[in-house]
Symmetry: C2
């Protein structure tokens, strides 16, 4: 290992204090001309690279944005991250990215780490902020951290909407998807996937039920099969649905992963999609365009969501005024997993 | 914003030097009993949270492992990361994760950032280290960084194999896949996808050609259609392949993404997979198990690869002896996109 020069070494060689070297590096205060030249010569001679940490200790900035993601294996989140990264490059920020796997204890651990690492700002991409009924203690912990670290929540909130958030309008998106099925002539429609205690599930279910009722259609509780957000969940719930004597002609899925699983199991059971059943997803992950059949879905505009979250965070970090709640409009993308009822 | 106490504030209140407070926090040297008690009381009173940066400046450790990933939207990498994260939690390290999108200039930028942030170690997951003919300057830059930061390369190398690496045996994996097709009775086999200047492509192509020749089969250059690693690439190259008068009965794809695209386009052209053509991928991304048809592939053991990379890095960081080259054995996973030749 090569020995790296530190600010302390430079100070010693120049026979000045660390603060003086820091002043020269950061131009934060005037330094006597001869002293400055001596320090600059040493920096040159030893090719000293100012330590970002030492510098940020004085400037109180780290150039790091902390990000807490609940599931890096879900392409929706990596698309949001791709958008966020594009935007963060414009201000030279890098990401301290952590994967909580939806575990609230890990989230707490990562929140402490973010504070310890003195990140300049934080994006919270899901987990406790997606609870239908928020947990008082978990919310308080997050609000507490957000009181010292500028924080933006994506597609979630805390008690009293106390924190700044950017979100897709999932309610409207679901209404659009269900309306599309109704316009295709479907009257018997089910809903698959999602955990009931997560707000994304309850929001989508509310929109589903309201759209059905407004069209004068019956909501059949036995066709509402929630579970989780994974491909496996879609497979398992479609398996249950297909065992019913009376089946729906169409299903709305909580996300594209569940739709992929649902289609897979339906096809395994010799059904043709969409002829025998229309199946719709939510998110528009890149794969929904390449699956067989291509999946009708609602685009969350993941890339824009990521870029917007960083834009809002940058304003917060600069102590500019921001809207407490920025809404991204969803888009219905009609592909080949939905069709007119025969 | 709440005012956070710093180590400087505590030192001032205790009327001692910052170094003394640091000694108490880190137990690095004895401090007079009365002084220690005074400092501990202040830490207690103000609920002072020792700043990780300040502490690590003294300990010269940051607790951060820097990771450079070429493509976060490819599930292979997120699976490697999931394994790496599990392992890193055992030593309390967190990841400074950066996405280079395969751009060498961005890689250089991120390497500088890693050095600036004084990461404890670094995992390089692809990009310049995958070049078939390494670039002298890019290699030198990386070797230079690795001389001050313990570094592990995953599935790649630099000139003279100068750095520590962990890799799947892609050559053997490809031989297994091609052998499987040959055993299914296929004699006319093509190869799709991958960039020719990347070593993963040339390694797999070498294995492909060698297995074909050893079986006495002809390698047809017009059936070798390289391009890139994306789903789109698979679609485009299968489109070209299907325009040929004489087509292969089976194709080996450089990865699962290319296989997904190839199957999608073949099906769009009314082919039935595997009856009309066998198509094999590489990587075993989770989706290959849920695609229609389920994809025969070679598992890179992504999770194990990630865990192993961190284990090797931890040894490097502890200045323990490590093998310069750790090999992970691939596994052939036969599913439904390949079948006996009719």
């Amino acid at each position: 290992m090569m020995k790296q020069m530190t600010i302390y070494d430079i100070a010693k060689l120049a026979n000045v204090s660390v603060a003086t070297v820091s002043r020269v590096i950061n131009s934060t205060a005037p330094v006597k001309d001869s002293t400055r030249k001596k320090i600059e010569a040493l920096i040159q001679q030893y090719q000293f690279q100012p330590n970002a940490m030492a510098r940020s200790l004085l400037k109180k900035e780290t150039g790091i944005i902390g990000i807490i993601v609940p599931d890096l294996t879900n392409p929706f989140y990596t698309e949001v991250l791709a958008g966020a990264e594009q935007e963060a490059l414009t201000t030279g920020h890098t990401f301290l990215l952590t994967n909580s796997v939806g575990d609230y204890q890990k989230e707490s651990q990562y929140l402490s780490i973010m504070r310890e690492k003195r990140v300049d700002g934080m994006i919270f991409l899901g987990g406790r902020i997606n609870l239908k009924i928020g947990d008082e203690e978990l919310d308080q912990e997050l609000i507490q951290h957000a009181s010292t670290i500028p924080t933006v929540l994506v597609n979630g909130t805390v008690k009293g909407n106390a924190l700044t958030r950017v979100a897709t309008d999932e309610y409207t998106g679901t209404c659009m998807a269900v309306q599309h099925l109704i316009e295709c002539g479907h009257k018997q429609i089910g809903f698959l996937g999602g955990e009931m205690h997560m707000s994304t599930t309850s929001t989508k279910l509310r929109a589903f039920k309201k759209t059905m009722r407004e069209a004068g259609l019956e909501v059949r509780e036995e066709w509402i099969l929630t579970d989780s957000f994974s491909i496996y969940s879609g497979r398992k719930q479609m398996e249950k649905l297909l065992q019913l004597a009376d089946k729906p002609t169409a299903v709305m899925c909580v996300n594209d992963f569940v739709a992929i699983g649902a289609i897979k199991t339906a096809v395994d059971h010799e059904l043709t999609i969409p002829d025998d059943m229309s199946i719709i997803g939510f998110d528009d992950i890149p794969l929904s365009h390449h699956f067989i059949p291509e999946i009708t879905t609602v685009s969350q505009e993941a890339n824009e969501l990521g870029r917007t979250a960083i834009q809002v965070l940058q304003k917060l970090m600069n102590q500019e005024k921001v809207k407490k709640h920025t809404v991204i409009e969803p888009k219905l993308i009609v592909r080949k997993s939905s069709a007119r009822l025969n």
